[in-house]
Symmetry: C2
Subunit: 225 residues, 2 copies
DNA sequence: CGATTAGTGGAAGGATTTCCTCCACTTGAC
DNA sequence: GTCAAGTGGAGGAAATCCTTCCACTAATCG
């Protein structure tokens, strides 16, 4: 489960460390700039040379694939763990959404960026895992709504789109202020979902299929480019 | 006030029309892609040739300047009108925030993008107008809080950052679904600001100076690049 | 500790994107 | 109808980005 590959020549210790640093840096840069961030910026952020990056990931597609899979696995693991261990659906949902960026990367970014779509074209595992996350998310949402902890007039699509927007507020540096600000804004955003809404929302709850539809039409700025 | 310049040779009718189309298209592309969007994409979106764009705006800086000024003027006009005509501060504030993108472009984007900072370096009017918008925004917020219409534990900076994130949800095409979805998500976001918060927010209210500070540190993803 | 070989960084050439100018053609204004 | 302002798009210059190559470094193993 936790194993890396079948059993190719294991990486040397330093190479393994670099590989992980690259994935982590790439993830951050993808979120900060986009999936079209220059490879050299990724290398610099990871503190390695450009050649090291290319040796490990022969082209951008491979890097995107590795980052996406790594991210997906983390989200799915978290989602499963939460659904199993946390009896209160509202708490579980909030904890899941708390890793906004993972969820955003998992559900939206891998489905939106042209680079990502190309890179992940022949990787069905991605779609499976995305579906898994979506399923858990929807289930938690419904249960939280059933027991009155979340306003009833929203759908999973609403949640995802708000998340997608909020992910832009993720702190990049280790700056203290940045961390605090994110905590505040996340809490603030969550407050929008509490029950007894101030006013009914226009239209009907947005589902994930609507998000898909919007993406195909390039309907929202967040799907730009 | 409404006059275009001192009195250079007035543009021919079709040229004037094209100029306006270009500004409008550039604004949309800036929001969709960023201030580094290729000039040709702007031209295409405006339905004009690349040469026409360059004839009207000799380089990117001029275009950014024109778009920013146009946008600023609209926001300032709206802000003044609202403060004068709308007695209820909460309603006025909401109406102002309703043009998320104008406000976002005015306050954040012109202060963040490297291109924009370079282009607007010697245009003090921009800073004046931004200050004007900020002043009205802060005043409306405080008044709305004083009369209990908005939760007391937020500052203008919180508002601006949430706006900045929400602007990513702006509809791009004329798609009906996109419009509705934006309305929903805007209403949802506003609901986060209603009084009697579910839980107190961590930290202290974020002011605009904090936003500036964060920008300089590149502290949030939204300031990326 | 020394040999071996996977691993590394950065320079550099090639490919691609983007900028911007030029000019033959079109169209509004008078 | 004249003509100057205006237009589109081709194409060269410039910048950006991708990728390879190779001399050098440092884990690993005996």
């Amino acid at each position: 489960m936790q194993q890396e590959r079948q059993d190719p020549i294991p990486l040397r210790a330093d190479a393994q460390r670099n590989r992980e640093q690259i994935i982590q840096a790439a993830r951050a840069e993808f979120l900060r700039v986009g999936m079209d961030v220059p490879m050299e910026e990724v290398a610099r952020a990871a503190g390695v040379g450009i050649a090291t990056l290319y040796r490990r990931f022969p082209d951008r597609s491979e890097l995107i694939k590795a980052v996406s899979l790594d991210n997906m696995r983390r989200v799915v693991a978290l989602a499963r763990r939460l659904e199993q261990d946390e009896p209160d659906p509202a708490t579980a949902l909030r904890a899941l959404l708390r890793s906004v960026n993972d969820v955003y990367l998992s559900i939206v970014m891998t489905a939106v960026s042209a680079h990502a779509r190309e890179a992940l074209k022949d990787t069905p595992e991605i779609d499976e895992q995305r579906l898994e996350v979506l399923t858990v998310l929807s289930r938690l949402l419904r249960r939280a709504q059933d027991q009155g902890a979340i306003r009833p007039d929203i759908g999973a699509g609403d949640l995802i789109l708000v998340l997608a927007a909020t992910s832009r507020l993720m702190p990049i540096t280790d700056d203290d202020l940045g961390g605090t600000v994110f905590e505040r804004l996340f809490a603030l955003t969550m407050d929008a979902f509490r029950p007894a809404p101030a006013s009914p929302l226009p239209g009907r709850p947005v589902e994930y299929s609507d998000v898909e539809h919007l993406r195909q039409a390039g309907g929202l700025a967040i799907f730009g480019r």
